[in-house]
């Protein structure tokens, strides 16, 4: 039963957690990274994958994934969602609590963990609700749920509306040691809005969600975090005012972290033109100035990391009039190739920066051990092929749904293979036409 030992040879190892960026060989023993060195290790008795020309990084960590199971298996399951994650290079994903029933109990947490163990192919960390049923009235058993394996708490698609509840939750979870992830949206300001309130919404006659719907809650939450010493994590930041509020709070030493999404980094409300329901998402896509502020915030560390907010919805649901279509975009499979193409290929970022924002940075937010290739760590790894050019299509998706706005785009990088505990959980046949085996070779 002991996993065989494996050598990933000749890969360009990119590990920002150790400041590595050079051609190296990685030895995996028993699913753990045993050695990483510039000289070729002993290969006798080991399987060898020749990764010459590929980049090797720690597997990506997603802080916000909607897996829909239990209750929404028509849209996604833990099996299909983790397959999508593996195809996108993610080896650890955080399952949001807005399932049916809501994940707010030990039973709910154990269900996710056992389904992940039985059917999933990457690490799944349950995120439990902050309040029972995400109803905002009663706290969940923070301590008990943490011990059951919860990585963070979040009322997922709802803000914690009552400021006193948020205050107490931040106070209480300070001793539990995990963040409260907040979907910042003032429900009164957001009203019945379906897109960003601005010139586009006025012209299309669609009800707008004003930008301040997010930033007033961010301002409240950083004030509460400052007052309590609790850790608040701002999910899917979308406006420049929010970036400013988080930046100032960080300067003041408040325990606040934040993420933004691939879609908020690459799209604006102009993408809604033509009533494009694929661009209908919460928080809504804002203006170009917001997009640029998010990029700057990510680059100066105000925004810690990137999270996909992978939110599958069936085509029949998305193909409705704009008002009736659900909010959400899937992002696991497209995240890395999209961001690589837009920002690394264009020269704005180096590869190390993108990988850092997808690995060690999100891991730090939740105090996770992932996101690094240090020896002794589980061998959760991703092989990346750059310098390619291909059209991103439905066949590249593993999700049950295809509500992905980037289908048809040309990408310049792909995930070649993904490993969890040293086992290949995804092999891209475009990168390895004859399978990983053909890339294996015996020692000299």
């Amino acid at each position: 039963m002991k996993p065989e030992s494996l050598v990933i040879a000749n890969a360009t190892v990119v590990d920002p957690s150790q400041g590595l960026h050079s051609e190296m060989h990685v030895v995996v023993e028993n699913g753990v990274i045993a050695d990483i060195s510039r000289s070729m290790p002993e290969t006798a008795g080991r399987r060898v994958v020749d990764a010459k020309g590929l980049h090797l990084a720690a597997g990506f960590v997603d802080l916000r994934t909607h897996l829909r199971e239990p209750g929404g298996e028509g849209s996604e399951t833990i099996e299909s969602g983790t397959r999508a994650a593996a195809a996108g290079g993610f080896t650890t994903i955080h399952a949001m609590a807005n399932t049916s029933p809501v994940c707010d109990s030990t039973t709910g947490v154990q269900y996710v963990l056992s389904r992940a163990a039985d059917t999933g192919c990457v690490n799944v960390v349950p995120v439990a609700a902050v309040t029972r049923g995400q109803e905002g009235r009663e706290m969940v058993n923070f301590g008990v749920l943490r011990r059951a394996g919860v990585g963070a708490f979040s009322d997922s698609v709802h803000p914690v509306r009552n400021a006193d509840m948020m205050r107490r939750a931040l106070e209480y979870t300070r001793m539990v040691g995990v963040p409260i992830m907040e979907h910042c949206q003032d429900l009164d300001l957001a009203g019945e809005g379906v897109m960003h309130e601005g010139e586009v919404s006025l012209r299309l006659g669609l009800r707008g969600i004003p930008r301040i719907a997010e930033s007033v809650v961010v301002a409240r939450d950083v004030a509460l975090a400052a007052a309590t010493g609790g850790h608040v994590h701002i999910s899917h930041v979308s406006t420049r005012e929010s970036v400013k509020a988080i930046r100032e709070a960080k300067l003041d030493g408040v325990r606040v972290t934040a993420e933004t999404t691939p879609h908020h980094l690459t799209m604006t409300d102009a993408d809604v033109e033509g009533y494009n329901t694929l661009a209908k998402v919460k928080p809504p896509l804002c203006g170009e100035a917001d997009r640029l502020a998010l990029l700057e915030g990510l680059e100066d560390g105000t925004i810690d990391c990137i999270a996909t907010d992978h939110a599958p919805h069936p085509a029949a649901e998305k193909n409705k009039v704009f008002d009736a279509a659900p909010f959400g975009i899937i992002g696991l499979e497209s995240c890395f190739p999209l961001l690589y193409t837009r920002f690394v290929e264009s020269g704005r970022w180096d590869l190390d920066f993108l990988i850092e924002r997808l690995t060690v940075k999100p891991a730090e937010v939740v105090g996770g051990r992932w996101g690094t290739l240090r020896t002794g760590q589980p061998a959760d790894m991703v092989l990346i092929q750059t310098g390619v050019s291909y059209e991103f299509e439905r066949r590249h998706l593993r999700s049950k749904c295809s509500n992905c706005p980037w289908l048809g785009e040309t990408f310049g990088a792909r995930i070649a293979a993904t490993f969890v505990n040293g086992s290949a959980v995804f092999v891209n046949e475009e990168a390895f036409p004859k399978g990983l085996a053909a890339a294996r070779k015996e020692a000299r």
Binding site: G198, E199, S201, L202, R203, L204, G205, L206, R207, G274, Y275, N319, K320, V321, F322, D323, A324
Partner: protein, 316 residues
């Protein structure tokens, strides 16, 4: 009818003014002049759409607009069916697309739709072969209303180029306003939007309109004062304190009308809240053209159906 125009619109659908060029709009208005002769003579019918079927599908009640479309279709000799949404399976969970596909399968050539969701017509137009005619989508567009309004202004003022048109009221929620801003600016009019900041957001400047919050100042030198119907449910909301305040600040009466040009005309898409946005004296003024708008609506809608791509039986 004495029109030798054989122009045609490029589209099978009339989704909004947005998709129409200035030339398209003028083509419709010129043809409507011919159809107005038809609807004002003793025999009010032409055989243009004989054998064609027009279905009225109104998800929001509007007797006026539906009747206008019905008359327009009948006067073009089309068969007309008014699909009753209230008693159909639309309310039993059948989707909008299913409903329209069913109507199309029954043989409809035109489906005239009013729907509460903005963009409903663009969504349908992409997926069905029948001609979709927008009779109002959410807060987005009401193109035939704007066309009949432009027609009425042209009848009274000639060319719209250079005219000052003031649209007063709840611009934010008004599809009539959006379509009119597009159509009127396309024809060269200067459009001023008047109302409180909650109902007239600054963003409308991006559509080429000026914005004023003071009515007396705003309608100075206006050629057209276009009053919108204020929805009674707006009062006491977060958007408007009361109808009393609205009437005082933005209601139009004969006295206030003196700020506009002496020969300015008053318009309203109907139905009017008497004593709120329009006083009785303003309503009874010879400057008011509201009934002309209604009459012109039939002619303009005839022109629209006549001109859509693939509409006519025999091409000249």
């Amino acid at each position: 009818m004495n029109t030798d125009r054989h122009g045609q619109l490029q589209s099978k659908d009339l989704l909004g003014i947005e998709q129409l060029s200035k030339e398209d709009i003028l083509l419709i208005l010129d043809n409507a002049t011919g159809f107005k002769h038809v609807v004002t003579r003793t025999v009010k019918k032409v055989p243009t759409l004989r054998g064609k079927t027009v279905v009225n599908l109104f998800f929001e009640n509007s007797t006026r607009t539906r009747t206008s479309f019905e008359l327009a279709a009948r006067r073009l000799s089309a068969d007309v069916i008014n699909f009753d949404v209230a008693t159909s399976s639309v309310n039993k969970g059948e989707s909008l697309l299913d409903t329209v596909e069913t109507i199309e399968a029954l043989g409809a050539d035109y489906v005239v739709i009013r729907h509460g969701s903005s963009g409903a017509h663009q969504y349908l137009g992409r997926q069905v072969k029948a001609s979709i005619i927008n009779a109002g989508d959410g807060q987005h567009e009401h193109p035939t209303q704007a066309l009949l309004d432009c027609f009425t202004i042209r009848e009274n003022k000639g060319d719209l180029a250079g005219l000052k048109v003031c649209i007063v009221g709840d611009i934010l929620h008004s599809r009539v306003a959006r379509s009119n801003i597009l159509a009127m600016t396309r024809l060269g009019a200067r459009v001023t939007l008047i109302g409180p900041p909650t109902l007239v957001p600054e963003g409308f400047r991006s559509m080429g309109a000026d914005i004023r919050h003071d009515m007396d100042e705003g309608i100075r030198n206006a050629d057209v004062v276009y009053m919108l119907r204020i929805q009674l449910e707006r009062q006491g909301s977060h958007l408007l304190p009361s109808l009393k305040e609205y009437k005082q600040l933005y209601g139009l009466d004969a006295d206030r009308m003196r700020h506009a040009k002496r020969d300015a005309i008053i318009m309203h898409p109907g139905p009017v809240n008497f004593g709120v946005e329009l006083s009785r004296d303003a309503m009874e003024s010879p400057q008011t053209k509201i009934l002309d708008q209604v009459t012109n609506g039939v002619a303009v809608r005839m022109a629209c159906m006549y001109l859509l791509r693939g509409a006519r039986n025999v091409e000249a």
